[in-house]
Structures are given as C-alpha cells and as structure tokens.
C-alpha cells in the first residue's frame, strides 16, 4: 500500500516537473543577423509609441499585431544593456528588473524599441524603430481606483476600490463591496495625494450609508455619506457635495445611461471638531453646486454651479435636464479665520456654450483641468466630453487662459487626477472601448503641454480586450493606503461611528434604495 502510494506520488511529481519544464522553457532564440527592413512601424497593442513615460512605470508589455512565426523585441537606450525578448506568441512580456534598470539608467533620454517578425518565408522583417521618452520626473507610486461593471443599477455585482502599484502589476483591495453584504463603494479622496488622510463613501442594505475616515492609520466611520469630496491641503476640513442624482435611460442614444443633479449643495466637514457646517454661499437654493476642489495652496475652493430651473418636487428626469449647463466658479477661503469670500465666475457656460465638470487643480497651483461637455454635471456618459487645461498663473487681472487638450479622443474623457509633483495626470477615457472606461497616463511638461497618453499597463497586453470592468475615480497617491480590506470593512460594519450633525436641507439625500443602488462610473 505504502509502496503504491509512493509510486503514485513520484509519478505525479514527474508529470508536474515535465509540465513545468514545458511551460517555463525559454523561448527559442536566434541571432538576427539578416533582416529585411519594413518602412513603417509595427502595429502594436496597446500603442505606447512616441509617448513620454514615467521612469518608475511597470514594463509596458505589448502585442505585435503582425502575422509571423517568431517575434523579437529589442528595447534599448543610451546607457545599459538592451533587453531582447523572443516569443513564439505575439505577446511581448518585458522582464521587470531589466526594464527598471534600463529606465533608471536613462532618465530624461529616449527609449527605443526595434520590432522583428519572422514571417512564413523564414525571413526576419525589421520594422521602423519606435521611440519613447523617459521623463525625468517620476509618477506617484500608486493609483487608487474603482472597478465595476459599466451599469448604473447595482444589484449584487462586484464593486471595489483597488490600489495598483504602478511600478509593477500588483493590485490590492482597498475596500470590496462584498465585505459588507454586497455593498457599494463610492468616491474616495486623499489629502494631497497622501493616503494618511482618506475619505471613502460606502453604503449597504444591511449597514446603511456612511463615510470611512482614515486618519494617521486609524479608520472610523462617519454616519453620513459624502458625495464628491475634496480635502483642504491642511487636512483640517473637507468640502463635499450632497446630491440628489436619479438615473435614467435614453431610448436610442449610443450611451444609454444618463443622470441629472436634481438638487445639490456643498457641505464642509471640519475634521478638528468632527462637525458638518453648511456655508450659505455654497448651498444656495437657486443653484446646483457640485464638484468641489481645492486649489493647491488651499486659498480657493473651485466648484461647478448651475441655476436650478426646476422646483423640488419635479419628477425625474425634468424636461430641461439637457439644458442645464454648469459654470466654473471659485470662492476664496481663509483657513485661519474660517471665513469665505465671494463667489467669482472663472468660466461661464455662456462663454463656452458647454457645461463644466470635474475640475482638478495641480498641487503646484499652476494648472486647473476640467471637462467640457454638452449638458449636465457628469461627463462620463457624454461622448463629447473633452479635457481642458487652464493656466491659473495668468498675470494681473487677466482672465485665465484655457485650451482644449490635444490628447482628447472622439469618446468621453473624464475623472482626472494629478500627481503630487504636478507632472503627471491620470484620466478615464472611453477611447479604446466606448462602453468600458480605461485609465490613461499623460505627462504634463512645465509649459503645460500634455503628451500622448498611455493606457495603464497590464502584465497581459491583451488584458483590456476581454476586461468587462470599467476603471474610474482614479486617484494618484504617494504610497499605498495603510488601512485596507477587512480592517476597513470591519469599521464600516461596526456600530461605532462619528455622529456629525447633518443640517437638514432639501438636498439632503434619502436613504439608499433597499433593493439596489444606482451607481455612476
């Protein structure tokens, strides 16, 4: 019996060993001495060519969309050993250590890539060299985003906030909706790209609504849900929106989903006193206020505002839902005296003929990005939403100049986040797939030129070709959040909470639907 058992075990191990050898055997390599030049670059997917890439980014793996028997990619720069990868498949996976060495040794220089394909006639073809530029400035090491199915009626599908290490492909869970009975996770915000101060909205049938506050490694639950939130750079207060956002469908528009902000205001959460204060200037009855964001120095709060043309009891969607256009406004704030200035219009919808949404200030205070689109407050579901850049350092009283970015695509662009050094942006775009939102990284140089974006790299270069999840609400952070996963979920499930006195207004949201949640990408 014992002998038979040992024989069986040995046979099993042998099979495993053979399988491992077959699976991990190095790809066939041969020196490419003769080749035929092809007068065009190879078709690659994803297309990273001619982009400016962060010096600390994970290897930009790609597929060569050319027919062939064998593939070779030679990646090289001025300094260091070139990387040569042979593959019988069209997928090129770059070794991480060699890639990082090459990037580290050539910061600020060009990175070149030669693509060779061995065709059926057993002749190698060499395509035109593709070049990238390695930026001098690194991107923040981590990206926190939400993944969900592109639907706005959540029933029991998986939704979660994840943290991705940008120097490799490791993705960890920050908060998974499943950990509190098919709950929902909403917007997350960090103070100055630092996860030591984090706010994260969540809701669940069983555990209600709440906001998770992480401060200095300790998580607590606030008993009200924050909408779109922005931390003051001092971390002493955060301004958030309270919205009434019903969802509805279009019968024939290519993007069927739509929403309208029926009623909204901005509220201030004072972290020192754990209280919520409604500043009348930020909660005017005749206006819809949304998308608060602090300037880099914390002296101004930028937000979007539109006149409210309907009464509070208007059924959804109101007839004028596609006429609403938001202005970009700002209000001065003095942290020492906790006083607010007057509201100034920064960019009027009358001037642009469009609606403004999702403004974000660069941490150095120089730039402000925003989306312009046809109507309403949410650009994600509007195909014509484009990214714009405003220069806030316009001299004197001159109106700040703004321009449409060259990186826009015919599809919707939205949800932008800045790196802490103000040199990188990550934004959501539907350019690859009209239904699914993907994340793109772009370099912003000192003059405000935004360079060709690259899609968030994945280990499997064909990843996005079968990924049914949308990536949104991306936030760059300098380190991985400390309190995550079950530790965070446990706090949300617990009965202990910080009670903030929530002023009752017409915009105060009702409790979440017991059966399902509406969710925006």
């Amino acid at each position: 019996m014992h002998r038979r058992f040992m024989m069986g075990l040995l046979s099993l191990m042998s099979v495993g060993l053979i399988a491992a050898v077959v699976y991990f055997k190095p790809a066939y390599q041969e020196p490419i001495t003769e080749y035929e030049s092809v007068d065009r670059p190879a078709h690659l997917q994803p297309d990273y060519s001619h982009a400016v890439i962060p010096p600390n980014i994970a290897p930009l793996n790609f597929s060569i969309l050319e027919p062939g028997l064998l593939y070779c990619a030679r990646i090289f720069s001025a300094q260091g050993e070139p990387i040569e990868i042979f593959s019988q498949k069209s997928c090129i996976q770059i070794p991480q250590a060699a890639w990082h060495n090459l990037l580290k040794n050539n910061v600020g220089q060009a990175l070149h890539m030669d693509i060779f394909v061995k065709r059926e006639d057993h002749q190698w073809r060499r395509f035109q060299t593709i070049s990238h530029e390695i930026a001098r400035e690194a991107i923040d090491g981590f990206l926190v985003y939400r993944k969900m199915h592109p639907t706005h009626l959540r029933v029991k599908g998986r939704i979660g906030i994840y943290c991705r290490d940008l120097s490799n492909y490791k993705e960890s869970i920050v908060l998974d909706g499943m950990s509190y009975e098919n709950g929902c996770v909403n917007c997350h915000s960090f103070c100055q790209q630092n996860p030591d101060n984090m706010l994260l909205g969540a809701r669940s049938d069983k555990y209600g609504v709440g906001t998770l506050l992480v401060e200095d490694g300790v998580a607590r639950k606030i008993d009200t849900k924050f909408g779109y939130t922005s931390w003051h750079p001092s971390a002493r207060l955060a301004v958030y929106s309270i919205n009434k956002l019903p969802m509805f469908y279009h019968s024939s528009r290519n993007e069927p989903r739509d929403t309208v902000d029926l009623n909204s205001l901005l509220a201030c959460y004072h972290n020192d006193t754990k209280t919520v204060v409604i500043e009348p200037k930020l909660a005017q009855k005749e206006y819809l206020e949304n998308w608060p964001v602090w300037s880099g120095d914390g002296k101004y709060l930028y937000f979007c505002r539109a006149p409210k043309p309907w009464s509070d009891d208007t059924p959804s969607p109101p007839a004028q839902f596609d006429q609403i256009k938001y202005d970009l406004v700002r209000i001065a704030y003095d942290l020492q005296t906790n006083t607010w200035g007057d509201i100034e219009i920064v960019l009027s919808s009358r001037e642009t003929g469009k609606s403004v949404g999702m403004p974000r200030c660069s941490p150095d205070g120089r730039w402000l990005t925003f989306c312009l689109f046809d109507y309403g407050y949410l650009p994600t579901w509007q195909e014509n939403s484009d990214l714009y850049l405003m220069d806030l350092k316009t001299s004197g009283d001159a109106v700040p100049g703004y321009r449409r970015l060259e990186i826009n695509s015919p599809k919707s662009e939205s949800w932008l986040t800045w790196s802490s050094n103000s040199r990188w942006i990550v934004f959501s775009s539907k350019r690859l797939h009209g239904v699914f939102t993907r994340l793109f990284i772009s370099y912003v140089d000192q003059r405000g030129k935004v360079h060709k974006p690259v899609v968030l790299p994945q280990q499997d270069p064909t990843f996005y070709e079968s990924c049914l999840l949308s990536f949104n609400t991306a936030e760059l952070v300098i380190k991985a959040p400390h309190v995550t996963g079950e530790r965070l979920a446990k706090v949300f499930r617990s009965k202990e909470k910080i009670s903030v006195r929530m002023p009752i207004t017409m915009a105060t949201p009702k409790a979440a639907d017991a059966q399902s949640y509406s969710e925006r990408e």
Partner: protein
Amino acid sequence: MTVRQNQDGSNHRGHDAHPKASFWHAFRPGQDVIFFALFTLYFVYEIDVSLLYHGAGLIGNFPTFYMDWDFLARFLAYPGGLVEGASAFLAQLFFHAWAGAAVVTIQAWLFSLCTDGILKAMHLERWRILRFAPPLLLLVMYSSYTFFLPMTVGCLAAMAGVCLYAKWKTAGDLPGVMSFLLISICLYVAAGGAYLLFAVLCVLSELLFNRRWRLGMINLSVGIVLPYGVGVLLYRIRCFDAYLTLLPASWKDSTEVGLRNVYALYAILPGVLALFGIWRCLFKGSKRYVSPRSFWCGSQSTFGWNFQTLVLMGLTTGTVMFCRNPYLKTLFQVDYYSHQRQWSKVLELVKGKPYHYLVCHAVDRALYQTGQLGSHMFHFPQNDKALLLTGKEALWQKFDTYMDLGLINEAENALMICIEMYGERPILLQRLAKINMIKGNLSDARVYLGALSRVPFWRDQAGHALAKLTQDPDLSEDQEIQRLRALMLRTDFVTNRDAIALLLKENPRNHMAYEYRMAWLLMNRKLDDFMVLFEQCHALNASRIPRHYEEAILLSRSLKNQPIKEAVSQDAQKQLLAFVKALKGCGRDKALAKRTLKGPYGDSYLYYYFLGGSGAS
C-alpha cells in the same frame, strides 16, 4: 454459514460463509452499480442539468468561469477558494447534459463511498444503507433545480478528510493531534468553513466511538480555533466568512427552499454518529443493548436482495415521485428553447400546461416567430402584460424580445442589469456582443467576445464571431445585423413613451412591432385602434389576414353596423353568426356561456372578447 463475534459485539457474516450467500455477498456492489446507473440515466433524461447551466433567469448563483490564470489565481486568495474554483469548473460541464450528469453521479458516488468508509470506521457496517442518503439528497436538490454545487463539494471534501483521518489510525494523542492538524489546515484552505464538518465528525468519532476523551477535546479546540487563526489572522477575512464559507449558513437568502437539503446533507452524518455514539455509550454492555441486525439486515434472498434493498428502492422511488417538478422543468425548458430559437419545441412543451407569465411571453414569441400570432394566440392563455413583460420585471426574458423588436437600448440595459444579477454568464456576453455589433460599437463587441472566448465550450463560437469582425468590420455582409440595424429605434427619449408605436411610426414594416401591437390591441379589446393600425400597416406586413384579425374585423364592423370592406373569409363570417347565436342561447348566464362555448369557440377571439380571459384549453 459461520458467524463470528466482532470486538464491538456485533455479529458479522464470515467470508467462509455458505458458498451461495458468499457469492451474493461478493456481488453486493451490484446494488451500487444499479443505483448509480439509474441515477445517471435519471439525471441525463429527466433532470437535464444543462437547464441549470442555462439558468432561465431563475438561478442567480451559477458560477462564472474563465480559462485564464489570473481568474484561477483569485480562488487562492481565500479559504474555500479551491473548492469554489473546482466547483465553478465542474459546473461548466453542465453545458452538456451527459457531462453534467456524470459530474453529479461521480459526486454522489464519492459521497456514498465516503459515508460508507466513515460508517465502517465507526463499526456501523449494518447501517451501510445510509451511504445512499447523500446521493438521494443530491437528487432532491437537483430535482428542484437549485444549484448548490460548491457547498456540496465542500461537504464531500470534509467527508473525504474524515476518511483519511480514520485511515491514519494513530495510537497516541500526539500523532492523533498532528494528523488532525495537518488534514485540518489543508482542508480549511481548500474548503473553508465546510472544514467544520470534518472537525465535528472527527471529534464525535474520538469522543463517542474511540473513547479518546483527551484527543477529542484537543481536536475540538483545534477545530474551533483554526478558522480564526488561518482565516482571520492569516488570510485577513472577516470572522463570519472564516467560519461559514461554503456552509449553508453563509447563504445570503435564507428563504431559499433548496437550502434545507444542503443543511440535511451537512447534518446527516453528524446526526448519525451522535445518535449511535450516544446509544453505544448508554447501552453497550447492558442487557438492553440489542443488535437490530437480524431484523434490519435480514437474511439475503436468493437474489441477494434483503430488507435494506427494498427500503432503498422504496426511498428512491419515493424521492423521485415526490421531488419531481415537471412544471418547474417546463419553465427552464421553455426559456432554454426560446433562447435557442427552437420555436416548435416551445409550443410543443406548453401544450396543456397551466398559465404562467413567463411561459405566456415565450409562447407569444414562438407564435410570432412561426407566423401564428395572429391566428393561434387564443389557443393559449393570454395576458397583455406578459406580451412585452410590462407586468413583473423579467430582465432575462426581456433582452431577446426587445432586441428582436428593435428596442436595442432597452435590451442592452436589461443585459447589463442581468450581468449584475447573474454574473458574466456566456449567453449574456454573447448577446451584449451582438447588441454592440448592431449599434456599431465594434471595439466593445470585441471585448465581450474576447471574454466569451475564455469561457469553456464558447471559444469556437466567439472565435468565429471575432474572425467575422476582422473580415467584415462594418458587418455589411451579416444579414441579421443589417436587419436589426434597420429595425433599431431612432427616436431618443428618456421618459416613458409608447416605444412600439414609435417603432411603427419610424418603420411601418417592422413586422414584429406590428404584430405585437395588434396582439396587444386585441387583448385589450381596442378594436378602433386595431382597425386604424390594420388599415395603415397590414398590407405592408402581410399578404393575408390571419384568423384572429378576421374575427376582430368582423366584430368591429358588426358592432358599428359598418359594411365589411376587408377580404374576410366566409368561414369567419359564418363562425361569427354561429357564435352570436350560441351566445344568445345562453342568455345572461355567463358561466353557462363559458362552459358551453369553450369547446367549439374556446380558441377564438370572439370567445376572448365576450367571455373574458383566454378560452384556450
């Protein structure tokens, strides 16, 4: 025949028994072979587990599975993941009825082996018939078309662990604890909370059968602490999940009817061991300890069949008889054949079946697709809300109907919500790819097809569609896509509007919209609107007038005393006269009229119009 006394006092038939008895004794595995052969056939031909794979919108927990390392790696991230992953893979075999039946049969057989092994280890050989209890419970579960494969595989893993523990008979406490701990850790990582069944069985065996009190108590402590240590502290999952994953108590919907069968599956062996263990503790050695063998096992007949066999036959027959649910099966079948567009099978299946909202909807689709909606709809029970599913929300059934009509966005919304409700089921991915092809969102169609190509059994279909997209990027050669593009609603609105009327306004040749609209008008007795639409669109959509339309035209003209301009058949006119005469003959007694006229006119619109409801038999 010789009889020897066993250590526990029970009598065992020796191997040197009477040659005839010995032969039949040796042949006893025949009982298992016959049982499991019939079990397999029952699953293939009666239950048909491929219906579970399809789901019909009635099964919300059928697992998604992709042939992909990243997907598989997710199952390693939590205790119980291995069993869940294995179950998800095995569930894909339900795609084919025979493969699914093989999976369930093998599982049932393993259950039987493990139960047998445990009973033998506890010296309860005389109760070996209990080995058929888990297979019978599986039969009950699948007869009610519920899907609990991960939990049952978890249970099986725990029982296999007990067999292994019993096999590794250990002399002292320390080896006993070590073997228990080793199996516990492996089992907990693989089966999560289902491991607790293993712990309970081992503790019961040590305490009640082996009388190793100290070892039993140590095992009990390990069993309690281990999920916390490994699950909560190591895997960092919550306490609830650490203890209850894969146990029936973890089920979100505790009202689920089939759940009690899973509870029974988990409870049966602990119950048996506790009962016999306590019985032995109390009565062994006393005069009151009676071996029921002579009665229970009886002497074997010439054919080797004894009382146990008869009980087994009775139980099996009873289970099959009482747990069969042909009506539920019809629901699954109707939906399956509707999605497969096998319309004649749908109509065949529902003959003589009572009314059901979803069946009614499927019948109307089948009638339309076979060109019989205008002539045979009142052969079947009808409900205007079932026609377009405007009564109860039925998203799973909605998407195909709405896609056929040209309401592409409605279909897309239904599909997206279905993905939320049922997971990334292959049929949903396939339909979403088609929707995006119709809308011209080809890159999105590729994503759905890309995902579909990673699902077992769907790779070829997805690959074929992807190749077609590459060869013909606009799909200009695809007649089905072109047809649906032509039907697609162009008017954009966000509030509730009459979408069918809009479809017809945009394209009066939208045949399905026309027939559905006409059917709805007939069901709601709106003869004026019916006549208007008939005059506007009928000539564009059909060359002849179907039976129910003739009846409605005649009714409308007669009620308004208008001359009949339409080419209505003489038979229809005669039928109307005969019906009115018969109706008058019944006076004001509606019940009598219903009874009397049901036979000759029950499938006519006249009956429906005057006597209410559908007169279908």
